[in-house]
């Protein structure tokens, strides 16, 4: 089994260093999919349904075809003709300018035989609700998980708390919308895609078009955010390919912001009814939970209960509910922020009933040794001792409070391959079919190589984001770093062996007489620099292939967050003032990008806690706030002071950190709000109207 060198020998990894493609990104030179212009390229677009349910009867494109600049209009792009949500594709156009495209789309008239629809989870659960799928009930068969004897445990419980929690549907809202630029070279399709999975897009789009994946290549050099919504190939890419084929020209097809909100993913809502039982000395012994949630026309609404705490007897029954809304897609820690919101609030409710410190209750029931230390550290940093002992006891209308919640994420690394070439001038090129979704993957492909070969970062040219490069999986589930970093290290190690072998051949010495020092090579009492060593390479570069190996990564991380809020009891406004986040991610590849990931997860968590909510109109069945005007996300002013503490466990190897930091934020804020005002909020987002409503119920 291989291992990383000791931390004190590392000169790049585990340090702070800026990302290597930074200069391109700050200069506007970096080209995202949206920015690509190919010679003769047309602008493609899709007409989507503004009806939530029905059957396409007729699509009239006569007027659209007359718009100057229109090259192709396609009407056969919907697989079945049955519409199940507003946002489904009906027709597509390719035109010479974005203006002509828009005009043509406006001039397509569509006749749809409308059906009854239902867009809210609760409405869809009623027996009289219109069925989303004619052959199935809206409420799907429950999934039941159970351990121990729940009923018996509740009989033994000294205290029982029970509550119903609701969380809203959240939309990924990546700043770069989903989309592709495609062109055909003969029967081969080249796709430039804003994606989290170049290999996955190749497979999916080949399948949509019924061609061999061998004939498809996907490229993604830079992409403007994904958060899980860009893990698979999109139908829009296949539509772009059809337009390009028909027009015999490259096509750029980016979704509109509305389409992006409606049709390419969301974090489903949840209704969670949970009961917890504990003994009087503060041991959780029982949980009984039922949840409902809707991923629109898909499933995927399960909540990750029972979260992090050890409960010997528990039952969780989940029901996915169909509604006439866009399908869910994985969203940064699917199911987990919902669980922290409910379970960490229940923890505080149990603690209050037992008259116990919520921190003490967590220490008693949290089985994870890392988090045990993180709880103590976080409590000390936030000043847990100085919290309101009595919730809501601050004088004046603005009240402050502190709360906490936990994080867990269990994934690790998996199969990834890489190829490395050393050139005679000492440059090293590394190819890996992963992609950088903003996390800094490209940078650590270079830095792991540089660290292992003992050469400066600028000598390494990392090439990623191309399905012609060696296989790596989708950038999702926090699996990228633990998958890619070990593969790169393994490949770099092989490159060093190959160079050693070459030098031993050229000089006629045994390979074991060649010794690698930090950035030089010792042979026959002489010291060779990297460049001098590489000069032995003649025409053919050294080329090696490597892959993910055991021992360099682990699965499973722990984290805790503490939030301090100020709640204005007159306006209902919650201001998050400070967050202390303690997270473990094993060996830290780059402190700068890791801390930045954690900041980002927290800020997205604040957005989820306070602002984000998809509104579906029950009368039209369409999304009311499918734009950044009305779908609110946090801005720079809502961002608090953040203190990130990386709990180093380098000996465990590389572990992903993309998802864990967004899990506990809403739960910690909710507990802080209770500590501030003495009223609990059971619904996300915690908007001012909900705060005021809760306060008025307390008064009456």
């Amino acid at each position: 089994m291989s291992s990383w060198k000791p931390l004190d020998k590392m000169t790049i990894l585990s340090h702070y260093y800026p990302r290597i493609e930074g200069p391109e990104k700050v200069s506007g030179i970096a080209r995202y999919t949206y920015d690509l212009q190919l010679p003769g390229m047309l602008y493609g677009g899709i007409l989507t349904s503004n009806v939530a349910a029905g059957k396409i009867v007729k699509v009239d494109t006569t007027r659209a075809k007359q718009v100057p600049g229109v090259r192709v209009v396609l009407t056969d792009i919907h697989p079945t003709g049955t519409i199940r949500f507003a946002g489904e594709e009906i027709a597509a156009v390719a035109a010479t300018t974005p203006q002509a495209l828009e005009e043509a789309l406006r001039n397509i008239s569509v006749e749809i035989e409308k059906n009854a629809f239902v867009v809210s989870t609760e409405d869809a659960m009623k027996p009289t609700a219109p069925r989303v799928f004619a052959d199935r009930e809206n409420v799907r068969k429950p999934r039941v998980r159970e351990e121990g004897d729940v009923e018996d445990a509740f009989r033994k419980a000294d205290v029982v708390v029970e509550a119903e929690f609701r969380t809203a549907t959240q939309v990924h809202a990546c700043l770069e919308v989903h989309g592709s630029v495609v062109h055909w070279e003969g029967d081969e399709l080249i796709i430039y895609d804003s994606t989290q999975a170049v290999h996955g897009v190749r497979k999916d789009v080949a399948s949509f078009l019924d061609i061999s994946p061998r004939k498809v290549r996907t490229v993604c050099v830079h992409m403007g955010g994904g958060f899980g919504s860009k893990l698979r190939g999109g139908r829009y890419t296949a539509i772009a390919a059809k337009l390009a084929k028909a027009a015999n020209a490259p096509v750029k097809l980016m979704l509109t912001r509305r389409q992006d909100f409606e049709s390419v993913g969301n974090r489903p809502d949840s209704i969670q009814k949970i009961k917890i039982g504990a003994t009087k000395d503060g041991r959780l012994i029982a949980m009984d939970a039922v949840s409902y949630g809707s991923g629109g026309i898909s499933g995927g609404a399960r909540v990750r209960l029972p979260h992090v705490y050890k409960i010997p007897n528990w039952r969780y029954v989940h029901h996915d509910v169909y509604t006439n809304a866009g399908p869910a897609r994985p969203f940064r820690a699917p199911g987990s922020p919902q669980a922290a919101f409910s379970m960490d609030q229940l923890m505080d409710m149990v603690a209050e009933k037992l008259n116990m410190d919520p921190l003490e209750l967590r220490l008693k029931n949290d089985p994870n040794p890392t988090r045990q230390k993180e709880w103590r550290l976080g409590a000390q940093k936030i000043g847990w001792q100085n919290r309101n002992r009595k919730p809501g006891s601050d004088a004046g209308p603005v009240k402050r409070g502190i709360g906490m919640a936990a994080s867990v994420w269990m994934t690790g690394g998996r199969d990834t391959k890489a190829m490395l070439r050393i050139y005679p001038d000492g440059h090293v090129e590394v190819r890996c079919g992963t992609q950088d979704i903003g996390t800094g993957t490209r940078t650590y492909v270079a830095s792991v190589t540089a660290e292992e070969l003992g050469i400066p970062l600028k000598k390494v040219i990392p090439l990623i984001g191309d399905s012609d490069y060696p296989y790596s999986g989708a950038s999702g589930g926090s699996t990228t770093a633990p998958s890619v970093a070990p593969a790169i290290k393994n490949t770099a190690d092989k490159a060093r062996e190959a160079l050693t072998e070459l030098i031993s051949d050229k000089l006629g010495v045994d390979a074991d007489e060649i010794q690698w020092k930090n950035n030089s090579i010792r042979v026959q009492n002489k010291t060779l620099s990297w460049e001098e060593a590489c000069a032995f390479i003649e025409d053919e570069p050294i080329e090696v292939h490597g892959k993910w190996t055991e021992g360099l990564s682990s699965a499973g991380v722990a984290g805790v967050q503490f939030a301090q809020v100020a709640v204005d009891t007159e306006t209902g406004q919650i201001q998050v003032e400070r967050v202390v986040a303690v997270h473990d991610c094993g060996l830290i590849l780059n402190r700068l990008t890791t801390e930045s990931q954690i900041n980002g997860g927290i800020i997205q968590g604040i957005s989820y806690a306070l602002l984000e909510e998809r509104w579906m109109d029950p009368t039209t069945g369409t999304m009311v706030n499918a734009n950044f005007q009305n779908y609110k996300i946090v801005g720079s002013r809502e961002t608090p002071e953040i203190e990130v503490i990386l709990y180093d466990e380098a000996e465990r190897g590389v572990i992903g950190i993309g998802e864990p930091p967004t899990i506990p934020t809403a739960g910690a804020i909710a507990n802080a709000v209770y500590n501030a005002i003495g009223v609990r909020l059971f619904t996300l987002p915690m908007t001012p109207d909900r705060v005021l409503e809760a306060l008025s119920q307390q008064r009456s």
Binding site: R19, P23, K25, V26, Q99, H222, G225, I437, L592, Q629
Partner: protein, 156 residues
């Protein structure tokens, strides 16, 4: 009917005929191939398309190309001088004020106007000046540090 315009972008004078409905952002991106100015929404909400119009930060998705006849425009591509990054660009790189980087050009252009008008902004003033620009990844914490880095360097 096309409208003739003369506009200076990053110091270069362009004379073009444009459709009246052509947005400034599409003029910059699709006509001049200056694609560093990004498009994140169509409601003037996200700020990814921010450019300087006669020195003022504006959202170029909310202005027609025909309206900028005679104007001077600076885009993200026009900030570096002789291959040297502007202190704001350097700050966003060094302080890691970017993750995916899609919002970065607009952030930098909005921050440019701030530092032009207020060379020593407080943290609150920086946050206020950038509230029209979204970062979904979300890097506001380091973005503020990036602007502070630039302010310090410009005042040195």
């Amino acid at each position: 009917m096309e409208v003739p315009i003369k506009v200076t972008v990053n110091g270069v004078l362009y004379e073009r005929e444009v459709e009246p409905r052509l947005l400034l952002v599409n003029f910059l991106r699709d006509v001049l191939d200056l694609t560093g100015t990004h498009v994140g929404c169509d409601t003037s909400s996200c700020g990814a398309c921010t450019v300087l119009l006669n020195g003022k930060a504006v959202k170029s998705c909310t202005i027609f190309a025909a309206q900028v006849d005679g104007a001077e425009i600076t885009t993200i591509e026009g900030l570096a001088r002789n291959g040297e990054l502007h202190p704001l660009q350097e700050g966003f790189w060094q302080e890691h004020g970017l993750q995916c980087g899609f919002c970065t050009p607009g952030m930098i252009m909005a921050a440019y106007q701030l530092l032009d008008e207020n060379p020593n902004p407080s943290e609150a003033e920086i946050r206020h000046a950038l509230e029209g620009n979204y970062c979904r990844c979300t890097g506001y914490h380091n973005i503020v540090k990036s602007v502070q880095y630039a302010a310090k360097k410009l005042n040195a």
